[in-house]
């Protein structure tokens, strides 16, 4: 069960709203099992229906994490008009090469956080994507 400060959840929602009508995406860095920062990443697909994280921004984030000893706690993105649940596309893309569901997912220990703006107030849910393409929801424990 991921413990995520309310402040960070609000930051992800704010990002999703800021980037309307397109999907927003980003990465949550963590250390010692705790999420620390929400990092917006440019959606280079600039689309209401898909996201593609800007590769250079990802590279910088990954290299910065290596400097500070942090790790990728969660990958988040918004669905502007559908449920806060990983789509088939999201599941396929969690593997490398995409759709190779029989392999280990690219980030087995990382949460996939979905922000849905289809609801008011927006809904935020967390998932793990497992080998075989299985989706397990993990209830977020939100703390102030």
């Amino acid at each position: 069960m991921p413990h995520i400060p309310k402040k960070l959840i609000d930051e992800m929602i704010e990002h999703a709203i800021d980037d309307l009508p397109n999907e927003a995406c980003g990465q949550v860095n963590g250390k010692n099992g705790r999420p620390l920062t929400v990092n917006r990443v440019k959606n280079s697909a600039a689309s209401p229906f898909r996201y593609s994280m800007d590769p250079l921004a990802m590279l910088k984030l990954e290299q910065a994490r290596e400097e500070t000893g942090e790790y990728l706690f969660a990958i988040y993105h918004s669905h502007v008009a559908s449920e806060a649940y990983p789509s088939q596309t999201d599941i396929r893309q969690a593997f490398f090469p995409p759709g190779e569901l029989d392999r280990q997912p690219m980030f087995p220990d990382c949460y996939y956080i979905l922000v849905s703006l289809a609801h008011d107030p927006p809904e935020v849910r967390a998932f793990r994507i497992r080998q075989g393409g299985l989706v397990e929801e993990e209830l977020i424990k939100s703390e102030d």
Binding site: Y51, S52, E62, V80, S82, Y85, S87, F96
Partner: protein
Amino acid sequence: MDSKLSKDWFSMATIYIPTFFRQITEGNEYISVEGSNVLESLEFLSYLYPEIHGLIFDSNKQILRHVNVYINNQEIHELEGLGTFVSSEDQIAIIPALAGGSMTLLEKNNGNQSALKPEEVMRYSRHIIMPQVGPQGQRKLRDAKVLVVGAGGLGGPVALYLALAGVGTIGITEFDVVDLSNLQRQILHQTADIDKPKLKSAKETLGLYNPHVEVIEHPMPLTSDNAMEIIPNYDIVVNGADNFATRYLVNDACYLTGKTLVDGAILLFDGQLTVYKPGYCCYRCLYPDPPPPGMVPSCAEAGVLGAITGIIGSMQATEVFKQILDIGEPMVNRLLLVDALTMQFREMKLRRDPSCPLCGDNPTVTELIDYDAFCGSPPIEVSIPN
């Protein structure tokens, strides 16, 4: 050869290995490689770690679509691609794509699990027997809704092969009547159909081929006034339009409604094929401005080989099929150029243009515009059949 000499001959660039690949590189983050350009450097890496090769290269030795390669913070396609020179100062980074998207209409359609009837199983058996299709795929085809713009040269073979494959709902926009000069290429219409509305003739022909298919008639040209009402009812749009105004209109309307557009074009002995998907290269990225009126002749003015409509139209139907079943490599970000005279097929790589007025980072086209004015073309004449 001592190592100093080899260093003078070959540059040693450094490759940054992303976390996910480090299970292959024994945990190494940075690997020094020999090679004068990116291709040689990456090949050297795959020589050291053979498992990496299939993760970054396709069978044509091109970088896979879902892999990005950067040199010193610049994407290699902005430089000289795989041929970009590298020196010992350079850092190459491999970055697997992180992407996703919301649920599409097609995914929602998967909910309909009603079984295929024995007649359908027999009819579609040559498709169902293929592992890429199967009964599940055949149900996806049955549940799919495809809009075909125009029932002429391209729209004919597209609609025909989709109907034969059992695509459950085929919408057609068409306002013209069958003319004797259409019959050299437009396979949905026959000699007895002359002067009949093309839509009526198309529906009759498709119904004879496959009575399971529902053909929805849109007896009107697609315009800025009706496109946003018609297109959202469909999963995929196929373009068989014969004029630039409609091409820009269909492109914009598909992007704005989040639909995939399977595009084709023909003239003389030439044909083109591509697929526009929101988030990837669109028609406006490729052609920001229409050609001056009259510069590109129409098929009526310049002529067109009948069989090329069959080649391109069949390919468009194939791309729709792949989209519905989510199989293969779609013609997204790719433009196929067909020259029937030499029978050469050439492929160009396309990219989304960040400065595109429609799908770029700062779009200026946010709703449909007056496309006849934009293209400087006279409005489409609607001939009303008697």
